[in-house]
């Protein structure tokens, strides 16, 4: 790969393409685009070393709006394309953009496998709990009972949690962010980028047309403080407008509970401290839902593990050093041969 000199100072706009952005006015995707562009500028990666890969859906238009290399592929299969890109050239900085329909319905299989293999890339799943581009059908993350064009009497499907799916797939990095929370999101994306392996980030994204307010209970300015728990490694799990609530482990039932600080003598020392290397804890945190619990955002889980693409190329290097450089003539003449004379 070419190794261009790192530009002195990249700005978010250096990562914007000349294409007109065509999401609906007010779509959460705009905010994510801005957050991602800012993150890339902060990372300082040269745009030519970055590839954005997507499937199909509103979120999957994302690559067209980036000044990097981009591949808008087919529905649900972006993880497979991205894996192929990393197998061909592990040096490329690959970002995969998908949605709840693309990544968890038609592409659920591929998302499962890219996570378990731990292919080194960032996977941003824009979860708006709806099919936008096909005009408003319910998705695998839609709340049960949602009325949509295909479920006029309410959806019967039980929804799945993307973060729990990722943990179940043995993902090595699982995080959450909210489209509008621009101060929080770049930090999560930076962490995802720094992680070697498949970094899964679920981003709650408001679909203003078909599912407006799906996350209103925790994602808006006036609800975030009470509705969200912002995770920080090693920090006690405190939330609330007045920072007076916390999460405590009920040891007898291995479950979580919300407690009020200062009541019944409860102090910070009684609260759970976040340990992002603890997969069981990550699962408990991912399960937390409004209104009984705050929604956990930030890095739920992060554990170092070898990246698949790196390991693949280590095997190739090992084979090359053990068997010597490739020689087609030698290959064709290996094994039993015989000579027919004149």
């Amino acid at each position: 790969m070419n190794a261009p000199a790192k530009p002195s100072a990249l700005l978010a706009k250096d990562f914007a393409s000349d294409q007109e952005v065509r999401w609906c006015p007010g779509c959460g995707d705009y905010a994510i685009l801005k957050g991602v562009q800012k993150t890339l500028a902060d990372i300082g990666t040269a745009p030519e070393n970055v590839v954005f890969v997507s499937g199909i859906g509103c979120s999957s238009r994302f690559p067209y709006y980036m000044s990097t290399y981009g591949f808008h592929t087919i529905h649900g299969r972006a993880p497979a394309f991205a894996t192929g890109i990393k197998l061909a050239n592990p040096q490329l900085d690959v970002w995969l953009v998908t949605g709840d329909g693309d990544g968890l319905s038609i592409g659920g299989n591929h998302l499962l496998h890219v996570l378990r293999r731990n292919v080194n890339m960032q996977i941003l799943l824009f979860n708006n709990e709806i099919y936008g581009l096909t005009k408003g059908q319910y998705s695998p993350t839609s709340k049960q009972g949602l009325r949509s064009p295909s479920t006029p009497m309410g959806s019967l499907d039980r929804p799945l949690s993307p973060a729990l799916f990722a943990l179940g797939a043995n993902a090595t990095f699982v995080a959450r962010a909210v489209d509008t929370q621009q101060k929080h999101m770049p930090g999560v994306l930076l962490r995802a980028h720094a992680h070697q392996g498949a970094s899964f980030v679920e981003i709650y994204t408001n679909c203003i047309v078909y599912n407006d307010g799906a996350f209103a209970s925790f994602a808006e300015k006036n609800t975030a403080a009470e509705g969200e728990l912002v995770l920080e490694q090693g920090a006690p799990m405190i939330f609330g407008k007045d920072r007076d609530k916390g999460i405590r482990l009920k040891r007898d039932t291995l479950s979580l509970e919300v407690v009020q600080l200062g009541v019944n003598g409860i102090t910070e020392d009684d609260l759970l401290r976040h340990d992002e290397t603890n997969r069981v804890l990550a699962g408990l945190l991912a399960e937390m839902r409004n209104p009984d619990f705050p929604v956990a955002v930030g890095v739920l889980y992060c554990k170092a593990a070898p990246a698949y693409d790196t390991a693949v190329h280590e095997q190739i290097a090992a084979a090359r050093s053990a068997k010597g450089a490739a020689d087609i003539n030698k290959l064709l003449r290996g094994g039993a041969t015989w000579t027919v004379g004149d």
Binding site: Y69, G84, Q315
Partner: protein
């Protein structure tokens, strides 16, 4: 020539009978090692200087119940002192290791042929399992054959007694005992098999020794025993073979090596992404063992992921290859359409098998021609190549890489289960004699006033440039939505879609100017009858046409390796014949394509029973066409 094997006297003084060619079929239970036996006999026969062709035929079940007819595995070899085109119509010799093998295979044996039977397996229980109502050794059903009954099981046990193996292990040497006998029968050298056994069982020398003892015992039995049925030894003279260095090669090996060679000539890393499927998995296995050639192999989670990963690899500047069989290719269809739209190189190998759906996974067929040429949504042209023999797969592999990279297009390579597994002698080419075709990736010189335009085409090939991510200044975005001519940006413009559709078609059609003119394999370039084939029907068509020409019939053999685009002279060539006959192992696919393209009155000859065409079947079809009034009148 290597040492002559002409008439020699046996120790007993019986002379060997000289024969020009022989067809032998080894048949037994799946666990009897018939495929190994066959491949060892193939190698020994090649080393003895005969030309040969083989046909492995094995069940889909991994371990079918022992002794059942559906667990029978067979390996047929045709070898001789003349050019051998097919595995042979009917066996001269059948080796039946159990009643089920006899039951399944006797029907194919030539009238008066030799049947060698292991009587040690002919228990009442096994006879019943094979579905025999009475014992064929006693009820006269073998009248008309030369029957050689030997208790191979018992003789094998005796031969390996000294090695202290369990009964089960000892009996597994039965195939080597049998091979030893057949080696004696046709005067083959045992050394290669002995060496192979030593290598294969390097960690179990007792097993190696036992197998070698069995091999020797079978051979000695032939030399010394008074053989039942008056059986005596034969010699098969060496064939007139082009001088040079040879090996045996299967289609799967030849294709794997051809693709590796092509990637080398293109100066590309190859990424093969595949999902296991019979009979295509062998290609994955072979390439997985070739990492030193900078080949990345990826066993994907499904067929769709496999093709998508291959396309992703091509996007990133490697040669993406995916491999499957018909049902898997069906799953890949949408992604192949994307590769056609974004115009990236991609090689899709289809080892065809009988269908539809799961069909008969281990039985050969060539019924995916429609799928290859037409089997995608919308107007989605690509290149289709068809290998005509195991060895031909090597050159087809190289050509697939050349066309895919030069024209930035998917190339579908059609092989089949028969070709993939069958081995044939191969005059090993000198790789240095192949002209390299290194890929020229786009660089900063392609950056114009409007920046880098990924859909500005080469005027001659109509191919777009290939920009490798990581290259500064060439960042671009492509995808499945129609791309604007030039910039590649999303375009919903209807006129642009018309133009791009035309360009995609013109690019593929133009490849007709970059492939050889269609030649005639045998016969004249015009005349009464052209027999037009493709794929693995090459052998039987070639022999049948040759035989008919020897009888002074006016018939020619034309064999297509370029299925799409078709060679630019094919229409004119076919127009020079009164009749065109198209034998295919499908229900009539190439014949439809030829009729549609050229308005030629081509006629089908079809067969889909899982077996290759017999030479006599094609001869009969040729005869019936030539017997027609109008054919002779012109």
């Amino acid at each position: 020539m290597v040492t002559s094997t002409a008439i020699q006297l046996e120790p007993t003084g019986t002379p060997r009978e000289e024969v020009e060619s022989v067809v032998v079929r080894f048949a037994g239970d799946s666990g009897d090692g018939m495929q190994l036996t066959g491949s060892q006999f193939t190698l020994a026969t090649a080393l003895a200087g005969n030309d040969l062709a083989t046909f492995p035929d094995f069940p889909a079940e991994i371990r079918a119940p022992i002794g059942t007819t559906f667990g029978v595995s067979a390996f047929q070899i045709n070898f001789g002192a003349r050019k051998i085109a097919t595995a042979g119509d009917a066996p001269d010799v059948l080796v039946a290791m159990n009643p089920a093998a006899l039951k399944v295979n006797l029907v194919d044996v030539k009238a008066g042929g030799t049947v060698i039977i292991d009587t040690g397996t002919f228990s009442d229980r096994n006879l019943k399992k094979a579905g025999f109502g009475s014992n064929p050794l006693e009820d006269g059903s073998l009248d008309g054959y030369q029957v050689v009954t030997i208790d191979i099981s018992k003789l094998t046990m005796e031969a390996v007694k000294a090695y202290g193996l369990s009964n089960k292990e000892a009996l597994r040497s039965k195939n080597m005992w049998t091979l030893g006998l057949i080696y004696w029968l046709y005067d083959r050298d045992r050394e290669t098999t002995t060496n192979w056994l030593r290598g294969k069982f390097a960690k179990r020398p007792d097993i190696a020794d036992a197998n070698i003892a069995a091999l020797d015992a079978g051979h000695i039995y032939g030399e010394t025993a008074e053989l039942p049925g008056g059986m005596h030894g034969y010699s098969v003279l060496q064939a007139e073979i082009t001088p040079g260095l040879y090996r045996t090669i299967t289609g799967a090996e030849a294709l794997a090596w051809g693709l590796a060679a092509g990637a080398k000539l293109a100066n590309l890393r190859m990424v093969l992404a595949s999902y296991p499927i019979t009979p295509a998995s062998t290609l994955l296995h072979i390439l997985a063992g070739m990492k030193q050639f900078d080949i990345v192999t990826f066993q994907a989670e499904d067929e769709i992921a496999a093709v998508c990963a291959a396309i992703g690899a091509s996007f990133a500047g490697s040669l993406g290859v995916t491999s499957s069989s018909g049902p898997g290719i069906a799953l890949k269809g949408e992604a192949i359409g994307l590769a056609i739209g974004v115009e990236l190189p991609l090689i899709v190998v289809n080892s065809q098998r009988a269908g539809p759906s799961t069909g008969l996974p281990t039985k050969t067929e060539q019924s995916d021609l429609y799928q290859a040429v037409f089997g995608r949504n919308a107007d989605a042209p690509l290149v289709v190549l068809a290998a005509s023999s195991s060895a031909n797969c090597f050159d087809i592999g190289i050509e697939a890489v050349r066309l895919a990279t030069k024209y930035m297009t998917p190339v579908m390579v059609l092989s089949d289960g028969y070709m993939g597994n069958a081995s044939e002698p191969w005059l090993i080419p000198d790789f240095d004699s192949y002209a390299p075709f290194p890929v020229a990736f786009a660089d900063h010189e392609q950056i114009g006033a409007e920046g880098y335009l990924p859909y500005v085409r080469d005027e001659k090939t109509l191919a777009r440039p290939w920009a490798r991510p990581g290259t500064p200044g060439l960042q671009h975005r492509i995808g499945g939505i129609e791309r604007a001519d030039g910039s590649g940006n999303i375009s919903y413009d209807a006129e642009n879609h018309q133009r791009m559709t035309n360009l995609r078609a013109a690019k593929i059609n133009g490849i007709a100017n970059d492939i050889p003119l269609q030649g005639v394999e045998q016969g004249n370039e015009s005349g009464k009858l052209a027999v037009v084939g493709w794929g693995s029907t090459y052998g039987p068509i070639s022999r049948a046409v040759g035989n008919m020409r020897d009888l002074d019939h006016d018939v020619s053999h034309i064999h297509l390796r370029h299925i799409w685009p078709l060679p630019r002279n094919l229409g004119d060539l076919l127009a020079g014949f009164d009749q065109v006959l198209v034998p295919e192992m499908n229900n009539g696919q190439l014949v439809t394509l030829l009729r549609a393209q050229y308005l030629v009155a081509a006629e089908p000859l079809n067969k889909v029973n899982g077996q290759p065409f017999k030479i006599v079947e094609i001869e009969a079809a040729i005869q019936s066409r030539l017997d027609r009034e109008f054919g002779e009148a012109k």
